[in-house]
Amino acid sequence: MTAILQTVFDALSLGSLYALGALGIALIFGVMRLVNFAHGDVIAFSIFALLWPSTDVVAAVVAGNLPWFLLIPFVLAMGAGLSVLAEIVVFRRFRNASPATMMIASFALGFVIRYFLLMLFSSRPKSISLLPALSQPVEVLGARIPLLQLITILTTIAILFGLTAFLKRSRFGLEMRAAAENFTMARVLGVRANRVIMGAFALSGALAAAIALILGSQTGTADIQMGTNVMLMAFIATVIGGLGSLPGAVIAGFLLGAASVAMQVSLSIDARPFRDAFVYGAVILVLIFRPQGLLAGRGTKERV
């Protein structure tokens, strides 16, 4: 029983990370059809913003010593700021480009961010202690799970509810949903394109920063590669969920997390190293049967 509960918590917390990532990618895809490959590097940047540039192994923490109620907004602001900056400096010039061109441009931007970090911090992972109070285990229904895992899950749920409320209730959210549905039409009806797109980038950047906080406190290291894996899984989740569909992205993120953990537990020892191959095989299967994704966005159907 406790083992099952433990597994469920593992699946939920891994799924939370993927879901947050998928949401960040889906938000931007919704408003400008951009598959943002720089997302993973925004994650890494947000965590490195806490450190003083140096190539030592033990990081010289500057902003990381802030109390948590300042630290968290600081990191979120860093992620959102970088993301908005990327929109203004780079992506604004690609509004009318083909998706392939935009994607390569976002990849090039991610490359620039990553090597900028490498120049300042070197490629070695650094040990940081971020919110150390969270690594203590707590007991839930007899299972001992790290407090952080619990907080990850709860925060994700809170973010999801908050975001839903924001998108459904506020005027800005309404504009954003309209833009995601049909961008041209929304503009004709008076939605300000630049503001909506910048809003989407800011939200996406803040989500990336939230992932950075979770990953940073989970692993205790800051690594310039840390965002890559989450970004790829999130990217897959957005497609499986149905591009342009935010609930789809979240559901698919949790599904991917659950699938990874389930396979980890159920595969035999010999097959376990090949876990990811099975997960990716499952991804291909889902796409074969539902190429438009689990919850297809209404605007993404191919028109003839």
Partner: protein
């Protein structure tokens, strides 16, 4: 119609010009005669092979594939299996079948077999994946790449898992690489003007009209996928001979994005674009590397700090794409007469 020259004659100029361009690069390398420069040239020809292989599928079908480097991985390991001395295979990769441990082929024969091996797998994967289109197809190809990488990174006694497989004979002259690059260009050209290639490009530009005229899109895509998988496998085989070592991570995201970027910067819809993209970006990378190593001006040495090379490369790519969103060549091909578009039906002149 009948008195128009055949499509092969009208478009033959493109592969010829591209081959001359590659030969010119090779002659520069020979004239320079330095060893590191030789290696740089070999890298460039390998990238030309890979990017042209990628073009065969991506350019003609319009579907971005993240998975083609998986075929390069298959080709590279196949070449390693076929050319390593049996003694080394016995100790390093004991899981290989007996007959495979016993054989040791010359590198060119192994490269041909490696290409066929990669093409075979492209046919297997393509049969499943080519039913998809758009971004779903792209993600599915990425999943394929990740599957191949996971298998090769973990199958200890057949692929040596993540540790490097050493002992592959190294080929140091540039000529085999030049020849393979030119062969790749001609394969791509031959496919593009073949019935299958023309149908595929028609479907890329006008999917509805194409399917109304009876074009079986999955079938044409599969043909392109297999041909390009074979070229990628060939490139992979030569890749393993250029450095003598293979690891699964050599053939993963890094190489995928390098090759895709070169294709998109050059111009996704054009064979000339594929080659020009490699030549332009590789030249740029080389110049930046020299600057990073330091250039002596008078008595002082001017050197860029580490990482600037990649940052500059990224910025240049963004700038090129911002000004020419469809790549340097757009949809045009190089031809003897300037300002002639390659696709007979396409209109519009290059600026």
């Amino acid at each position: 119609m009948s008195n128009r020259p055949s499509i092969a004659r009208r478009t033959l100029a493109t592969p010829l010009i591209l081959s001359l361009l590659l030969i010119a690069f090779a002659l520069v390398a020979v004239a320079a005669g330095s060893k590191p420069f030789n290696q740089t040239m070999i890298d460039i020809f390998l990238r030309v092979t890979l990017v042209v292989g990628l073009y065969v599928f991506v350019g003609n079908s319009g579907v971005i594939s993240f998975g083609h480097i998986g075929f390069t991985c298959l080709g590279a390991y196949a070449a390693a299996w076929l050319t390593m001395p049996p003694m080394m295979k016995q100790t390093l990769l004991p899981g290989l079948p007996e007959w495979l441990i016993a054989v040791q082929l010359p590198y060119w024969a192994a490269a041909v077999l490696a290409a066929l091996w990669a093409a075979l797998w492209a046919a297997v994967f393509g049969k499943i994946l080519m039913r998809l289109s758009g971004i779903a197809a792209s993600i599915a190809t990425f999943a394929m790449l990740a599957m191949i990488n996971t298998v090769y990174s973990n199958w200890e006694n057949v692929t040596g898992a993540t540790s490097s497989v050493v002992g592959i004979p190294i080929v140091r002259t540039i000529w085999p690489y030049l020849i393979v690059a030119i062969v790749a260009v001609f394969i791509a050209w031959g496919h593009a003007i073949s019935r299958a290639g023309l149908k595929l490009r028609a479907a890329r530009d006008e999917p509805t009209a194409a399917s109304a005229s009876g074009i079986d899109l999955p079938r044409e895509r599969l043909i392109a996928f297999v041909v390009s998988g074979g070229v990628m496998g060939l490139g992979g085989a030569l890749f393993s001979h250029s450095i003598g070592v293979v690891t699964p991570d050599t053939f993963y995201l890094g190489l995928t994005f390098t090759t895709l970027s070169m294709l998109v910067v050059g111009g996704m819809g054009s064979l000339s674009g594929a080659v020009i993209g490699v030549l332009v970006l590789s030249t740029l990378i080389q110049v930046l590397r020299w600057l990073e190593a330091g250039v002596s001006i008078g008595t002082s040495t001017l050197a860029l700090p580490n990482g600037v090379q990649e940052i500059a490369l990224g910025i240049v790519m963004i700038v090129i794409l911002a000004f020419r969103p469809s790549g340097l060549m757009g949809n045009t091909e190089l031809n003897w007469r300037r300002a002639k578009t390659a696709d007979p039906g396409a209109s519009g002149q290059p600026e």
